[in-house]
């Protein structure tokens, strides 16, 4: 099978968020960037398991500038065969999806994997967009994927439960927890990753339709009100009268 895994770069969750002076962007100073965990732990690892079992290749694709190469190398160290980087600073979800679809439409991929969302913007949009551009089925929030020839049986998380679907390749799938187990790159992987190819390709022109105007930080929470553990009637009163939550 020929598999494509879309990977993106996000700030680590524990990053403290600060804004630039004009509030137009996140202040990148001191921000620790990582590969989006859903892409790395679940999408990439499940793709690798499939090719390890039945043969084939795993290609990574990332939309971003050269400073993303560190993350791409990590994906190669975990086991991907090669990588493509579309050389443009990612703007909206739609522009990222457009770039991925441009590459994928001639790539003859059997399955295109992504994480269910990025942990910075949590939009969950790119997978559905790529699928639409390529006119492919899209199975989101997959927590299990089994292949039998060209037929995949996939469990996907839905509100309060699970749905099981069957779909033939090619398709696009977004990975949730459960799809695979995180892998730590070993020394050999790290060494060989240095010689694996990263093809840098030029972006196609795309006009962004949704533009970020500004950022703001949420209002600080007021201090916690401690309630006597022996007086839960008081807590109920506060929840009813003050918070109006009950």
């Amino acid at each position: 099978m020929k598999l494509l895994v879309c990977i993106s770069k996000t700030p680590d969750t524990t990053t403290k968020i600060a804004l630039t002076g004009d509030k137009s962007a996140l202040d990148a100073n001191g921000v620790q960037y990582i590969m989006n965990p859903y892409d790395e732990w679940y999408a990439l690892v499940r793709a690798l398991e499939i090719t390890e079992k039945s043969g084939g290749t795993v290609t990574l694709i990332n939309v971003g500038k050269a400073d993303n190469d560190a993350i791409i190398r990590k994906g190669l160290a975990i086991g991907a065969n090669d990588a493509v980087r579309v050389d443009i600073e990612p703007q909206s979800s739609l522009s990222v999806a457009k770039q991925i679809a441009e590459h994928a439409k001639t790539g003859n991929y059997d399955i295109i994997f992504l994480g269910k969302e990025t942990i910075d913007y949590n939009g969950s949009e790119v997978g559905a967009m790529v699928a639409e551009y390529l006119d492919l089925p899209f199975i989101s929030y997959a927590s299990k994927l089994e292949l039998d020839g060209n037929t995949a049986t996939i469990s996907r998380d839905i509100e309060g439960g699970v749905e099981v679907v069957e779909v033939a390749t090619p398709f696009v799938i977004s990975a949730a927890k459960g799809l695979a187990e995180q892998r730590i790159p070993n020394m050999r992987g790290i060494m060989t990753s240095k010689t694996k190819p990263i093809a840098v390709v030029s972006p196609v022109a795309f006009d962004d339709l949704a533009v970020t105007v500004s950022y703001e930080l949420p209002k600080e929470k007021s201090a916690v009100k401690m309630v006597d553990p022996n007086d839960m009637d008081e807590l109920v009163r506060l929840l009813h009268e003050e918070a109006k939550a009950i």
Partner: protein
């Protein structure tokens, strides 16, 4: 016109559908437009969406719409957008809505914003806000295309009854064949799914083991809350996977979140810190969760929780 995708489950509208219609109604008022709802599949009282502000309900009934396939649904919604001439589409920010948002944005070449939680600013263009970086910042976007699509987070506003039932008009749309076969759907019956729940009782590793969850379920029962849990609890199979909230689980924003024996790690908070009111019960006064809480109780949960349940029971008794 503003079109609202009214999600339902076997003909029962979800609360998110009423919220989205209320949202659409308010945007229509601010922009001098009108708001209509779109229902896919069979739902007997689709007209009821009129009560929340839809002046009309469009419905496409076709056996092929009984199961959800984002590709089929997107094709039908796009056709409905065209037929009705709608310029703004509002989707719920649910697993269904999220799968549709991206598809429709690509298909209609529309600007899209996922997870909007407030009304747009419409005086000069169309701008909306949404939380980003797990709620640690808020971003504002300008939507520049002719057709615009947003998904609305649950509990972002209260559904409001403003009128009466609306007329239902059948739309004739060709429904494409699905390439995805749904083999089974399993849902926990009889409970409000977490993303829609207004009241949530959540517990963590402080519970010591799955056999102790009786007190959590009893508390949840008394106030009609949905139960949730921290990640290690789901990982250890103490609780079902779909109860797991946080960065790797579900993100929720109920009116009330009661966190019991949960330390409040940043990844946990990422999924719950938009809750309107947070109560934390923990025996460790240094637990980081207290910093994110509105009300805190420092004490042993095995003593405090039964006491709280009793207090709620008394309150419910007194207040009907």
């Amino acid at each position: 016109m503003i079109l609202i995708f009214a999600e339902h489950q076997k003909g029962q509208f979800k609360k998110a559908a009423f919220e989205a219609v209320t949202y659409g109604y308010k945007v229509a008022q601010a922009t001098g437009s009108s708001c209509a709802a779109l229902v896919l599949g069979s739902a007997s009282d689709a007209g009821t969406l009129g009560k929340y502000g839809a002046s009309k309900v469009f419905q496409v009934e076709d056996a092929a719409l009984e199961n959800f396939d984002s590709q089929v649904y997107a094709a039908v919604i796009a056709a409905a957008m065209q037929q009705t001439g709608a310029k703004l589409l509002v989707l719920p920010h649910s697993s269904t809505g999220k799968s549709l948002l991206g598809r429709l944005a690509a298909r209609l070449n529309a600007a899209s914003v996922a997870g909007v939680n407030a009304l747009p600013v419409v005086d000069n263009g169309f701008r909306v806000k949404r939380p980003v970086f797990s709620g640690k910042a808020i971003a504002e976007y300008e939507l520049k295309s002719d057709i615009k699509i947003i998904s609305l987070t649950g509990n972002a506003l209260q559904p409001q009854v403003t009128g009466q039932d609306a007329p239902v008009e059948a739309l004739s749309v060709t429904v494409p064949a699905s390439r995805v076969k749904v083999k089974s759907v399993e849902r926990a019956e009889g409970i409000v799914p977490l993303p829609e729940a207004e009241l949530v009782v959540s517990a963590g590793r402080g519970m010591k083991g799955p056999e102790n969850w009786g007190i959590i379920e009893e508390l949840a029962n008394v106030i009609g809350a949905t139960t949730a849990c921290s990640r290690p609890v789901a990982d250890a199979d103490w609780r079902p996977h779909h109860e797991h909230v946080g960065q790797t689980g579900i993100a929720i924003r109920p009116n009330l979140y009661i966190a019991i024996g949960i330390s409040g790690a940043i990844q946990h908070l990422a999924g719950v810190n938009s809750s309107k009111t947070i109560v934390v019960i923990n025996k460790d006064k240094e637990a980081p969760f207290f910093k994110a809480a509105d009300y805190g109780v420092e004490g042993d949960l095995f003593e405090v929780v039964p006491r709280l349940t009793e207090a709620f029971r008394k309150f419910k008794g007194g207040n009907g």
